[in-house]
Symmetry: C2
């Protein structure tokens, strides 16, 4: 125990603990008296006393007046420590179901152009405004740091209530709004509250894979429904029995269709008839480049069957993790309780900052600016694709959102080689095929790519498309060089606009 | 349609939409040609064209070259809109179970002293440091705004790994740490992954009610275990079969015991024998006023059965919503997947800010300062209680944490009148009885209060105790004025300290 300076109580305590566990004193052994140990270690008796207090509090020793402390636990050497085999049923049914899900991996590899959907450009972020709003929120704490309302900040819900009416023509009461940690938590709450194992849920095919995943994680079965250029084929619901339908009517993900009002009514009539819930994911309705955003399905619902889901992941940043549910009046209470049990409430500072941005009009100005910037990226991408691929590819779903689907004249077998080849060239591409339900047997007959462009500048977009085109030509099978007509369910988005009478 | 200025396309579109839904044009009716309508409204033809494009995109009309647009949907008058009765099984089993849970309510009533446990004083918050850290985090965005690792920021996990070793003697790998939205989300993930309906979970009685709630929400049954002044009576586990145990070994909530090491070993041996999981909630171990914090149970576990749960809700703020799990190696993957499905990941900025505070040592300095400030509050409260109640009350669990339990010499029937009377006097008090399992039949035989003091200054604490004592004397039944000996399971915390040999 050679020490440059006297040991502190903490060190003494640690050493004694190790000695106790190491069996130095034996199960019934006694520690030295505090006086003896103090002399041995060359420290004050108080120091030893503090160490003994700690060991007593932790239960390693017991003391009686006038006697030396006695060890109360068996040393590690005597305890039979075995790593028990993990039980036969270590995880819940939920845990077992999600075992198969792959956790996302993100390569750190720097790409020349990464067309990953969902990423945004930091240069679009209103840094100065946001910083000011966050600092104002940090300055205006109340008189207590306390847990907040599970539904979220009153101020943000009030701001969103106005925003939803102005931007989306959505009318709702303040207590129908629940702030969630991004739309994923909104989906998870819907899944937990509205689906049981063995239930069935109707879902667009292809669709947002994380939605299918979270609904399937309940043990419910997915019923994939076809999608055409107008979005969900609502007629297909006619003979479907399901407890819930998940839809993206403003902008079908990933194919881009806008659900016509007639189909919306069909969908709602189906929901009323079944007593089914409809989850409307309005994930990117801020980005329409041709027309003003289409009002949500929620506004057409007279029977309280639609749960509306919005997010700021596409307008401000996915890493802020703020989304919002608008739930029918009947479900207000149970959603608030579920949110409370799930994580009490969303973090407060950034809710307050967002509320301030919405109140001042800065959020909507930012959305307009982001729409303009992404509109420019979209045109750059469309022009680059047209220039590099000509008739050798078809584009779908480019009228709205932050991505488009590029259908290449390549058989599905070329998908993996193309991804690898593009990656080697420094281009990140993401096939559409994982968004199709593998059970449905409706995989596309060629390679389709979901191309997000919101994080890229013009130079990267153009260079990326050029490199992609070269990669395509390298993997194209020698036998088929002529583009085939009739891409699956698509129309070239570059067709001339409808002329009006 | 009297307008001060010409209508815009958006207004036109809205009016037409209302007219279509109002049945003005009939199901097969045609809209005016764009030229006619433009003349009628006194606007440019382009304006009308834009409105028609919108209606087309929304599916309200269809167009053919050379013909007037035709309405494609039935008017609202013709649609049979009925509010369908909510289905027989509107919510999932989970939803039905949590229906009974009450959502928290928080009165806006300003109190002279609110002894609510869990609140902190904003004056303790390291505002300048936090603001600087948040602003630094806002300034250092990467080259994309993108979804992050579901386990949380790499930087924060690395900082916590060091902190847990320094402060808690807890050794773990980086990928065993999962950042969650406060410890409540950690509990919820444990509940979902480790419990099925019909399972049983062992839990301290009394305990943190939100933990019992979230485990019970899975449909599992609670097995309440007795607690004495040393925390959980681990012997009681001997004949218990359960899949999971929830414990607060560092500081039993709410009674304050520190679980002795022998009981820790008993608990772990039980878990190994059963193949059961142990959830260790280390919610406030930073606050020990007598000894240095007791190392967690996690460190004694050799068989990978303990899930450790920490939080910054008691050191920085409950409204930041940051907590962390340390999971056994076997569970790393499934917890990461569950977090990903639940809400992708925790918000990034505040994770980065916290990481910076931990890296610089500022967090630990803050914890020491907060411990000192809360130690002063604790002494003020103990002195005030001693002064106002003397032997008429017993205090339990005051050695650690941010609360104590005050046992009053009042029968349980006085609880509600006392809460009301104290409230009228401007004092918020919180009975301990809801923390007992109502099924267990072990409700205390007198009124106990859980008194949090971390949000109060000395003046409020003293005034609050004085007002509380007056309220107690007003509700005390005339028959019993003499304090009875032997409060339930308690020892007066003001007893003289043990003397060492």
């Amino acid at each position: 125990m050679a020490q440059d300076r006297p040991m502190g109580a903490r060190q003494i305590c640690e050493v004694l603990r190790d000695q106790i566990l190491g069996g130095v004193f034996g199960a019934d052994g006694r520690l030295p008296s505090s006086r003896t140990l103090a002399q041995e270690l060359g420290v004050s008796r108080t120091t030893v006393t503090v160490a003994y207090e700690q060991l007593l509090a932790e239960g390693y020793i017991e003391v009686r007046q006038g006697a030396r402390p006695r060890v109360t636990v068996a040393g590690r050497a005597e305890r039979a420590i075995k790593v028990a085999p993990v039980g036969a049923r270590p995880l819940s049914a939920y845990g077992e179901r999600i075992r198969a899900f792959s956790a996302p991996t993100r390569s750190d590899h720097k790409l020349i152009a990464d067309f990953r959907y969902g990423d945004l450009a930091p240069s679009d972020f209103p840094s100065v405004l946001w910083k000011r709003a966050v600092n104002a929120a940090l300055a205006h704490r109340g008189d207590r740091l306390a847990y907040d309302d599970p539904r979220g900040s009153y101020r943000l819900r009030a701001a969103l209530q106005g925003y939803l009416w102005r931007a989306r023509r959505l009318r709702c009461a303040l207590d129908q709004i629940i702030i969630v940690n991004g739309s994923q938590q909104g989906l998870d709450l819907c899944a937990r509250l509205l689906l049981d194992p063995g239930d069935r849920f109707a879902i667009e095919n292809p669709c947002y894979a994380m939605a299918r995943g979270v609904f399937a994680s309940t043990g419910a079965m997915s019923l994939p429904l076809p999608v055409d250029r107008d979005g969900l084929v609502a007629e297909a619901l006619a003979h479907v029995r399901a407890r819930l339908a998940y839809v993206t009517p403003s902008h079908q993900f990933p194919l881009g269709g806008v659900l016509p009002v007639s189909r919306r009514h069909q969908l709602l009539a189906w929901a009323r008839g079944q007593g089914a819930w409809v989850v409307e994911d309005d994930y990117d309705s801020e980005y329409r480049y041709d027309i003003t955003p289409v009002p949500p399905l929620y506004g057409l619902d007279d029977s309280g069957r639609v749960i509306y889901l919005g997010t700021i992941s596409k307008t401000l940043s996915p890493s802020l993790r703020i989304g919002y549910l608008v739930v029918p009046p009947d479900l207000r209470q149970v959603f608030a309780t579920a949110k409370h049990l799930a994580d009490r409430h969303a973090p407060l500072t950034e809710q307050e900052a967002l509320a301030a941005l919405i109140e001042s009009g800065a959020y909507e100005r930012h959305v307009r600016r982001a729409r303009r910037l992404n509109g420019e990226r979209r045109m750059t991408l469309l022009n680059a694709l047209r220039g590099c691929f000509g008739d050798g590819a078809a584009i779908e779903g480019a009228d709205a959102g932050l991505h488009l689907v590029l259908w290449l004249d390549l058989p599905p077998s070329c998908e993996a080689p193309l991804v690898a080849e593009a990656g080697r060239a420094g281009v990140g591409i993401y096939p559409i095929s994982p968004l199709y339900d593998p059970q449905a047997g409706t995989l596309p007959d060629r390679v389709g790519l979901v191309m997000g462009y919101a994080a890229l500048d013009a130079r990267r977009i153009e260079r990326g498309v050029q490199l992609l085109a070269e990669a395509v030509s390298r993997v194209r099978p020698a036998i088929s060089t002529k583009p085939r007509p009739g891409f699956p369910g698509t129309a070239p988005a570059l067709a001339p606009a409808t002329r009006w009478n």
